[in-house]
């Protein structure tokens, strides 16, 4: 305690001349956004379970599929197994990195009071959330690049020069839209456990019907196709895998991109409207407190 007190008194006397790295200068928005992105990335990579399910798990599925199906030609598409699954599972990885990851990490941060704490600092809300999205997109880029690189090096996956720009465009519209959807899920899920369940229960079935896990067949009932067409995942997977198909459309799939963008914008608007910074259970919520007040009265 004595040491502490001495520290303090020296700080008191030095207060006027104390070292102030950013003395009275408000940090700029780009600097803060970069800072938040780093902060969120660091947390992500230090949480092995999230890194595993986002990057390693899709890669494992890809390798297993490519090995099990012997990298033979898929009759419906006229291309090799790996040539289809590398981009398809890259999409799965990118959507896990944005939609699933943002929804789960944000709700857990809310459960723990981290969002509430952030809300009490001068950090603008949009930078806090922007940092999360930017960090998630960085993870999506890493997952996608690793997937495609493994495909290219070990399974002969080919990238077509004429489809690179449409591919990059599809990727960024896709991850932005699914990032917004992740925020929306975080806004409506009551807690982290619910967000985890909802994220898996929505993404996995959609991945099966949207041409991510299974090659779209010709015998699929119309209603199932209609369902897949309604949700945005198919509009991400289709143009992305088409870019890798020797017989696919290598141009920009504007209709798909536009459709994803609409989903993204609507999701973002609703997420902003419904977003909560405070945990929905615990003593500091209005409901519990009013109950306590009622009991006291």
């Amino acid at each position: 305690m004595r040491a502490l007190r001495d520290e303090t008194s020296s700080i008191v006397t030095d207060r006027a001349t104390m070292t102030r790295p950013n003395s009275l200068r408000r940090p700029s928005a780009p600097a803060l956004l970069l800072h938040q992105t780093r902060y969120e990335s660091r947390i992500f990579w230090r949480t092995p379970i999230s890194a595993f399910f986002t990057v390693i798990f899709p890669l494992m599925i890809f390798v297993v599929f490519a090995l099990v199906f012997g990298n033979e030609e898929i009759e419906e598409l006229g291309i090799n197994t790996a040539q289809f699954y590398a981009p398809a599972l890259a999409v799965f990885s990118a959507v896990s990195a944005t939609y699933t990851n943002i929804a789960i990490s944000t709700t857990y941060q809310r459960d723990q009071g981290i969002l509430k704490r952030a809300r009490g600092t001068p950090l603008p809300s949009w930078i806090f959330l922007g940092g999360k999205i930017a960090a998630a997109i960085a993870v999506a880029i890493i997952g996608t690049v690793v997937m495609l690189a493994v495909g290219a090096v070990f399974f002969g996956v080919q990238l077509y020069a004429d489809s690179i720009i449409p591919l990059v465009l599809t990727f960024f519209v896709g991850v932005a839209a699914f990032g917004a959807l992740g925020l929306l899920l975080a806004a409506i899920a009551p807690n982290g456990n619910a967000a985890t369940a909802i994220a898996q229960a929505t993404l996995l079935p959609l991945a099966f019907i949207s041409g991510v896990f299974i090659v779209p067949g010709e015998n699929t009932p119309d209603w199932l196709n209609a369902l897949a067409n309604f949700f945005p995942l198919k509009h991400f997977a289709e143009p992305f895998t088409a870019a890798f198909s020797p017989i696919g459309d290598h141009g920009v799939h504007w209709a798909d991109l536009g459709y994803m963008a609409v989903w993204g914008v609507v999701a973002l608007a609703l997420a902003i409207r419904w977003f909560k910074w405070e945990p929905s259970t615990g003593t500091s919520t209005p409901r519990r407190r009013s109950k306590a007040a009622a009991t006291a009265a």
């Binding site: 007190r5 660091r42 509430k116 003593t283 306590a292 007040a293």
Partner: protein
């Protein structure tokens, strides 16, 4: 100038009035405690002042800002230590402080701050390895990293063991020496007594008493008790109104202890009596608190 001034503050949640007309002024550099039982409305009031809640009615001025507007300039000058919150488990102490420090235009240097809160040896430890008390100290560090003028501490020592509480108190006194205005809530009377320059007792959404730890609830003047062993004394001749409280023990309640004590001792000396076990006591802060909040009479 006052750091905080509040008048006619009301807060409804649905049909329940959590805060029912609170007036409060806290001066710059003051340590002010809001004391009250759980559910009295302390946290609601503090969260209104911090900008977390929109009040139903009343005027609120904190450092010249209306907290409800959540202005960035306002957040730059306050520090908040919430009752329940945590920080990322996977970051180290130094990283966490560095992260939050970036948000402020003016900030305490990370190493300096780690020393102030006594986490020097834990600077590079991950947050998940800290004890409860150490986490709380980290939270206090995050509350003051922006070198705020006003610090909110919502139940800073709830759940602490006695040693950790003493340490926390030392830290809060240090903050005071740094010239910061501090608003703390607590349901521990000794905490308010030890730390606060002034305090207000809150019960059921209203301030029921306000003053210094010494004067609150009329402690200084009212309700002093003179007590002695009256066995062997001519009880009927005692020149003051008194009641027998136990076998042979007599109590005199007085609002003017100086005069009444003189009357009593003059009588005893004149009659050659001895007042065995003579004590003069004022109600403790705890007595005042229990009386004010009716906690003593309930279940």
């Amino acid at each position: 100038m006052s750091a905080i001034s509040v008048s006619g503050l009301r807060m409804h949640y649905g049909g329940v009035e959590a805060v029912r007309g609170v007036d409060l002024t806290i001066e710059e550099g003051e340590v002010f405690a809001l004391l009250g039982p759980n559910g009295a409305g302390k946290t609601t009031i503090v969260e209104i002042l911090e900008g977390y809640r929109k009040r139903t009615a009343g005027d609120v001025d904190v450092l010249g800002f209306d907290p409800e507007r959540n202005e960035r300039a306002f957040k730059e000058r306050i520090g908040i230590v919430l009752q329940e919150s945590s920080v990322e488990r996977e970051l180290t102490v130094a990283e966490t402080i560095e992260t939050y420090g970036r948000y402020y235009p003016e900030r305490l240097e990370t190493g300096e701050l780690i020393d102030i809160v006594g986490l020097g040896e834990k600077a590079d430890a991950r947050v998940k390895t800290l004890s409860g008390g150490q986490k709380r100290r980290l939270e206090v560090a995050l509350g003051i990293v922006g070198n705020p003028d006003l610090v909110f501490l919502d139940e800073p020592t709830t759940g602490f063991d006695p040693a950790a509480r003493r340490q926390a108190w030392g830290m809060i006194r240090n903050l005071r020496q740094l010239g910061k205005t501090i608003l703390l809530t607590t349901h521990y009377m000794d905490e308010a007594q030890n730390l606060a320059d002034r305090l207000a007792v809150i019960d059921r959404g209203k301030i029921v008493a306000e003053g210094t730890p010494d004067t609150i609830g009329g402690r200084r003047s009212a309700g002093t008790t003179i007590r002695f062993d009256a066995r062997g004394l001519p009880v009927d001749a005692i020149p003051l109104n008194h009641v027998a409280v136990a076998e042979g023990i007599v109590e005199v309640s007085t609002e003017d202890p100086t005069r009444d004590l003189h009357v009593l001792t003059a009588w005893a000396v004149a009659g050659g009596h001895t007042l065995e076990d003579l004590t003069v006591t004022r109600p403790s802060l705890e007595d005042v608190y229990l009386e004010l909040t009716d906690e003593g009479t309930e279940g």
